[in-house]
Symmetry: C2
């Protein structure tokens, strides 16, 4: 006598089979109704709907994604694991991916030369789409590789919109303008500016926003001392030193990122300026260093976690769009926030010496 093999106990109480049996149709028909396909007789459709309601049936997402070709694997290419930025980004990405049932595969691309290898690994793992975090989305080598591979991609925090690729970013120019207007509202008229890395598009945008706000306030660009920085603390130190080498001293320094602003604070202290009493200093990005140094930095905050969540959704949407061959890549703009902390204050009556 053949012993009956025990039926596997399922996690799910009501399945598509139960609904089908209840109506007296095949599971296929139920599947069609669930997926809103048009080729089902209206009356049958109604019966199925009724049964679904009666039995309180919910389709299993696991089974659907296994059986179907719903895109659900997302590659995430990043550069440096120990930036403050990445933490919040990963958080948002992780959060949204678990909510939508997508799977995120992360891969490091430390040097642009590694782009091909890193991308190859992700493609071999079967990703449906790709997310590029900064600064990879500005590296030509990386972009070329992505194009060559023909993979659907979303660039986060890249400097400018793209025809080739969907992007998610903030308006760097408007943000720099907002921050500069705040400094103007504190009475500052003598400015120093520490420029960002010349290779990054955001550097120009931030500078332009800064100059635009000054122009609107009737301050001539020639009256502003600008020094080249490269986004590193070290470069900020050197730029600030040049900025504060001789009179007339600025009463406010705007650095194109937080690391350079933190360096400027440190250098100002070193040569005898009080911050913000003698000198206001502001940064950009709101990375962890901005809140930890003292005085804490006035800066611009990007909604990084929200942008990461949006990136997950957007890449899935782009994959679908791409398969249907319709429309153009979407360009998303997220809101920035001016964060006022202790490193900025009312302008001193006269620019102060060191």
């Amino acid at each position: 006598m053949a012993t009956e093999r025990q039926r596997r106990k399922s996690n799910q109480s009501v399945t598509i089979r139960d609904v089908a049996a209840h109506v007296g149709v095949s599971p296929m028909t139920v599947s069609r109704v669930i997926n809103r396909e048009s080729n089902v007789k209206p009356e049958t459709r109604e019966l199925v709907h009724a049964a679904i309601r009666t039995l309180n049936y919910a389709p299993s997402p696991a089974a659907r994604s296994l059986a179907g070709s719903v895109p659900c694997r997302i590659g995430l290419l990043y550069d440096n694991p120990s930036t403050g930025y990445l933490g919040e980004f990963m958080l948002g990405a992780l959060d949204e991916s678990s909510r939508t049932g997508a799977q995120v595969l992360v891969e490091r691309c430390g040097e642009p030369e590694m782009a091909a290898a890193a991308l190859g690994k992700l493609l071999k793992a079967g990703i449906d789409g790709l997310i590029l975090t900064p600064p990879l989305c500005e590296a030509e080598r990386v972009l070329a590789e992505v194009k060559r591979a023909g993979v659907v991609a979303v660039a986060v925090a890249s400097g400018h919109p793209s025809e080739r690729m969907a992007t998610i970013r903030i308006d760097n120019e408007a943000a720099a303008r907002d921050l500069t207007e705040y400094l103007l509202s504190l009475g500052h008229r003598h400015f120093g500016f520490i420029k960002g890395h010349p290779n990054h598009v955001v550097s120009q945008q931030r500078q332009q926003g800064f100059l635009a706000a000054l122009a609107a306030a009737g301050i001539a660009p020639e009256s502003v001392r600008q020094e080249q920085g490269y986004f590193s603390y070290r470069s900020g130190l050197e730029a600030a030193e040049r900025l504060l080498a001789e009179e007339p001293y600025p009463t406010a320094i705007f650095a194109a990122n937080d690391d350079m602003a933190a360096a400027a604070v440190s250098l100002a202290h070193r040569i005898g300026f009080e911050v913000p009493e003698d000198l206001s200093i502001a940064g950009f990005d709101d990375t962890p260093i901005a809140a930890s140094v003292w005085p804490a930095l006035t800066t611009i905050h990007q909604p990084v976690a929200a942008m990461a969540r949006a990136a997950i959704d957007l890449v899935l949407e782009e994959v679908r769009r791409h398969r249907e061959g319709t429309g153009a890549p979407r360009q998303l703009l997220h809101p920035h926030t001016l964060i006022v902390r202790e490193s900025t204050g009312i302008a001193p009556p006269e620019p102060v010496g060191g």
Copy 2:
């Protein structure tokens, strides 16, 4: 003539079958390795692991959850999203979870009072186990809530082993000893120490390691000036100020974390010390600030990403262990590394004034 039915095109290029074929075993064996079942010959296990790595295979969460009743939902409770620590941790967690097909649900617990709510949310989402990141693993309220909920948990970077819970950490005392011995090897004999937050267990451990190394070198604890800090930059600034207020000045300052060490560097510069020529300064943790300030900080590095990966594995293991009702929670110790950068140097012949 029967036409061959077209094989369904799959989303996933590398499957358990490919790995199995690559090694020359059955998919079952690969499955066993993935699920860390003990009944696989070690050599086979190694071969499978190698193949997984070579092929960059990631199990499909959909298939796993559909087929089995494997625990695969992991809750991750964190505190502050914008610490440098979290970035690397998330990275490791994401990496390992996608590799093992586990799903990580993240939830923020900003205040210990929110522990119940945050935990409730995760439990309702059906997590099988929980990971606690620092500093949550030391908050009594949080631990009490975890115990009350009866959920299997793993504490990361908590100060000491626990009977109630699995832990993953580094040996803080040994690490502090290593760093201190390095300073001693540079000829330093006059030390200052900035203590960590008194509520954190690691503070005592780091202090003890520091003092133990000094004792071994024949330096009396009374000759060392110690100041209370609270892990914040601000507290480091104040502690360093007291440390450098009067002669005899130390030639080396060891701060219990990087933020305080960075603050000490800034203050030292402010009052005329050159770092490291007049004064060496070292930190602990190797957070982003350590590499970004100038001079960059000599410090102790924790393998954060590796610890996160281990946490994912360990929590799944603990869930299984718990279900079987055997053994005690595992206590894992990870290796630390001394990172020598520019903030430390050979001791000056005589302690130098400001």
